[in-house]
Amino acid sequence: MRKFSHTASLALVLAASLAGCSGGTKKESLVDKIKARDQLICSGSQGIPGLSRPDEKGVWRGFDSDVCRAIAVAILGDAQKVRFVPLNAAQRLPAVQTGEIDILSRTSTLTFTRDMAIRFVATTLYDGDVVITRKAENIDEPKKLAGRTICMQGGGSLVEGALDELEAANDFKMKRVYFDSTITARDTYFAGRCDAYVTDGLAAQGNIATVAENPAEHTTMYAGDAIEPNGIAIRRGDDKLFDVARWTFNVLIWAEKNEITQANVDDKAKNGDEVTKRILGGDPSFGRSMGLDPKWAYNVIKQVGNYGEIWDRNLGEKTPIKADRRFNKLYTNGGLMFPLPWD
């Protein structure tokens, strides 16, 4: 009996020290780890046009990739200090949970279930589902999709939901044709296999512009009013990284609202109003609470640009994507994007 209690107490001590250890590692913020390794590890994808894709030289291009760069600049002061780990849709959540990546920025829709597993920080893009059809077939309103074939990528619950709603509201059925990737589905539609193709709203215009033989033959409509808030996410329980990610994204929106761009940020830092000067490095204590350099916000804009610049570079009118900015406009222009106050 006595021997047993000895063993038991020893086991308890061991368990407690183990728990203490793991508790200790959990408390260490990823921000410190990122600084120690001098590199931010961010999610890549397997190639999503305009959002994240490796180019010929292995450099990641796209909106989601640039958001990662902004966070790398905030923490490390250098947009080059980020490594992208390619992930597919199934891997992206476990990759955050296990610490394989620091930041998830890869077309991930904020949902309740996902937010219970990882922690969503901010909504970076509002997307909706768009149906592309041929003008010649005169499908210009959802009702006319009755009995038509629609090409789509399998496995997207939100697209399915949007189509379900559409069918329920109009009391008809479509024939859904599934593909493993949205690119295959798209090419199949443009090759004439389907009457319609449903995809992310952001990609729709660009698809017509680049893939269609004659872009004028195609038209688009929104599939229902579903909205997909795509966001950046981190591991749960890391307040420090949460702060950095949330307020870095806020810098991007705030700068666009105040017309601060890569080109004029130096001027604004010198001659702007008091708040602008404080945020752009005039106040040595700004950023201290997050453990960042006082000029972190200035660096972010200088190296990556504001939200509008990131949009224009990757998704805007001058790119082949030509996305409809829609809900992603500033609130002053009828969108949903607004900066949080710095007070």
């Binding site: 010929e56 292995g58 490594r83 992208f84 891997q91 394989e100």
Partner: protein, 355 residues
Amino acid sequence: MISTSSLSRKMNPLPFLARSFGSPINILITVVFAGILFFALPPLVRWAITDAAFFPAIPETCKSASGACWSFVIAKHSQILFGIYPDGERWRPLLVCALLIGMLIYSVRPSAWSKRLAWVWAGGLGLSWWLMGGGIGLANVESDLWGGLPVTLILTVVAIGLGFPTAILLALARRSKLPVIRLLATLFIEMTRALPLLSILFIASIMLPLMLPEEILPDKFFRALIALYLFASAYLSEVIRGGLQAIPKGQFEAGEAIGLSFAQLQAKIILPQAINVVIPALTNTIIVMIKNTSLVLVVGLFDLISSGKAALADPEWSSPSIETYLFITLIYFILCFGFSRFADRMEQRAKAPVK
């Protein structure tokens, strides 16, 4: 291929015309196939060559051409072949590909089959490792930046190269008289075979990280490599066991009678015969494994096919999927056909009379 064609030449010394029109059936076959070629070939040539877009390798070249868009493959060949490997360092994976293929060609010659071969392989794999990953004088390149052809080659060569010796041990263990060893080997083989490769890859890439602490967890590339290795060894071991079954009992008894140890008996008498018997089945399994490596795309590794797909995501180009996949098909064909030719040579050698 070489054997059948040379065989048919020996059996059928008739000239080409006589063979093509020698009998009514031959005439029919010749006419039907000539007809198919007559209708299929001109549009194919027009699409692939005459109307195709080559230079300059920019999107506009393809927009104005009605045929194949080879400009895309020309512009993106480096991305398809090397994935997201850093641009300035791409001579390293190129060298690794050359090294691995060179090692394979070196190993094909029977005169090279000696203990030295093991050292050549150990050295070659070590060198490849250093070239790909960096360290000592080269910039570090994390394995999740590896991509394209070297990934396909490394996965194939290592999974089969390590899987083959393991498979021999497993096959022997499964026939062992010791029940514990037999049971363990059987358990491993049956468990591995009962799971699809896809689910083993998913377990390795998604479940393992949730169960193991990150300090002892190998990275994604090596997890997939280990999964492929285990899978290959289970399948190869059953093929080899099939060869062992085919060896008459007298061979074992004769070997034991002249006082050979177990290892000598297996190495000098049983295995050489057993493996010769199963060369066609081995070739089959190995070619399947070469193609299986493309499944790593579901766990987010940039093998050849994933790299091709990522290249296709460039919005500047109108996504010439067919051309890209044909290019990748060509590479796979060269790999698989090359291997089957090698196996053919092995078979010829096995059939040759013992001197």
